[in-house]
């Protein structure tokens, strides 16, 4: 789990560091491949830059999938560690970011599978469905973000997150890849290891469900 004694980040270390690498001046896919080539030769500095470039998207994807920040932090780490170990086998047939999403997909599904096994018989997730909770009960479980997070993220995001959480992992993932991360059908199919037709079908039904749940928000726009 995430260590509580994490030091405060310095502003200098937050800055993108791509400009300090000779021959790498922008953040495009071609520059990714340059960094990957160097990292494959054991250049840990280049790999550190790749982590800096992609960590925000990977963390966001995982966080939106599992809705737990601390676990998302750990799983994002796992993605980059696994990517480093598999880097010698990366052949640049796909974009590096797509390859990372593929690892992310596997890491999240492994985590979900383990979580299901560990929680088997201990907790029924259906009890968190607010529609099933007696309105007269003295305490009700918190189903969404904390009040501070709600203010920070905005009401719409909170509603979308809550609606996404009600989808199956496959439907949630395809919506996040398509509508949030902006991947093409072909890339999503590669990441999720299925056909383009399956991606189209999942996206269609996932959007239908979300639009039903977010009807008021969607119609008001």
């Amino acid at each position: 789990m995430m260590n509580n004694s994490i030091p405060e980040p310095s502003k200098a270390e937050r800055e993108p560091a791509s400009s300090v690498v000779p021959g790498v001046s922008s953040d495009g896919p071609d520059d990714d491949l340059q960094l990957v080539a160097r990292a494959q030769q054991g250049d840990s500095r280049s790999y550190d830059l790749l982590v800096t470039r992609h960590r925000a998207r990977i963390f966001s994807m995982i966080r939106n999938m599992i809705h737990q920040e601390a676990d998302a932090w750990d799983l994002s780490q796992e993605v980059f560690i696994k990517a480093w170990n598999a880097l010698p086998r990366f052949e640049a047939k796909a974009r590096f970011s797509t390859w990372l999403y593929r690892i992310t997909h596997n890491v999240v599904y492994d985590w979900t599978r383990k979580s299901r096994i560990e929680s088997a018989g201990e907790l029924n997730d259906e009890i968190f469905d607010r529609e099933r909770i007696d309105s007269s009960s003295s305490t009700t479980p918190a189903g969404g973000e904390s009040p501070d997070e709600t203010l920070a993220l905005g009401e719409l995001r909170t509603k979308i997150s809550a609606a996404l959480a009600k989808l199956s992992p496959e439907h949630r993932e395809v919506v996040l890849f398509k509508d949030v991360q902006g991947l093409a059908y072909k890339e999503i199919a590669e990441v999720m290891e299925c056909s383009i037709g399956t991606v189209m079908s999942r996206l269609y039904y996932a959007r239908q469900k979300l639009q039903t749940m977010l009807k008021n928000e969607y119609d008001s726009r």
Partner: protein, 200 residues
């Protein structure tokens, strides 16, 4: 484009994935199908709503620490160079028999240079062994101890005089000594069996 595009191409057009000639061809076909244009607008509106509310990229908390943790994990998981170790191990393995032979020869040579006869040691001044009576120490005042030892019985009995009587309610069941006694005491074992039988 006069023919109807396939489902995948149409879906990719709806998602704004097409470019170049492919896009131009389907745009020409769609101009005669306003329902598809309306559908594309709905998809664009939906995507704008979702992508506007849910950020595609969010820095993880403590991003610098995030990177250092990844670097540390990679460093720990990277195996040490095995080639150098293997070479060194092979070198040592090769020299081991030679070193053993040299050691044996050196020991033999040193043996020939030292005294050839038995070593005589003068023990006349050494202190003689004195039999010592066992000292029994009792930390509590008013308590005297007597010690009886029998080598034939292989037993030593210490009698304490002046010790307060042990209350009957004292529970020794958890002590190691009592557990050992009970295991050796056949009568106690029988009683225990009877008790267990009564319980059953």
């Amino acid at each position: 484009m006069n023919t109807t595009p396939d489902e995948t191409t149409l879906a990719r057009w709806l998602e704004d994935e097409l470019e170049g000639d492919e896009l131009a061809a389907i745009e020409a076909w769609v101009s005669g199908h306003p329902e598809h244009l309306a559908e594309r607008e709905r998809v664009r509106k939906w995507r704008a709503m979702i992508s506007g509310a849910v950020p595609a990229a969010e820095e993880p908390p403590y991003p610098d620490f995030f990177n250092s943790r990844v670097a540390q994990a990679i460093k720990e998981s990277t195996p040490q160079p095995a080639v150098a170790t293997k070479t060194r191990a092979g070198w040592i393995k090769f020299l081991m028999p030679a070193a053993a032979c040299a050691g044996m020869m050196l020991t033999f040579w040193l043996g020939t240079k030292t005294h050839s006869g038995p070593v005589e040691v003068d023990v006349t001044g050494a202190p003689k062994a004195i039999p010592v009576e066992p000292l029994v120490y009792t930390p509590e005042k008013g308590v005297e101890a007597e010690c009886f030892s029998s080598s034939k019985a292989s037993a030593t009995v210490i009698v304490l005089n002046g010790v307060d009587a042990i209350p009957d309610e004292t529970d020794f069941s958890g002590s190691t000594t009592m557990r050992g006694l009970r295991e050796k005491d056949k009568t106690a074992a029988i009683q225990m069996d009877n008790e267990e039988g009564a319980i059953r």
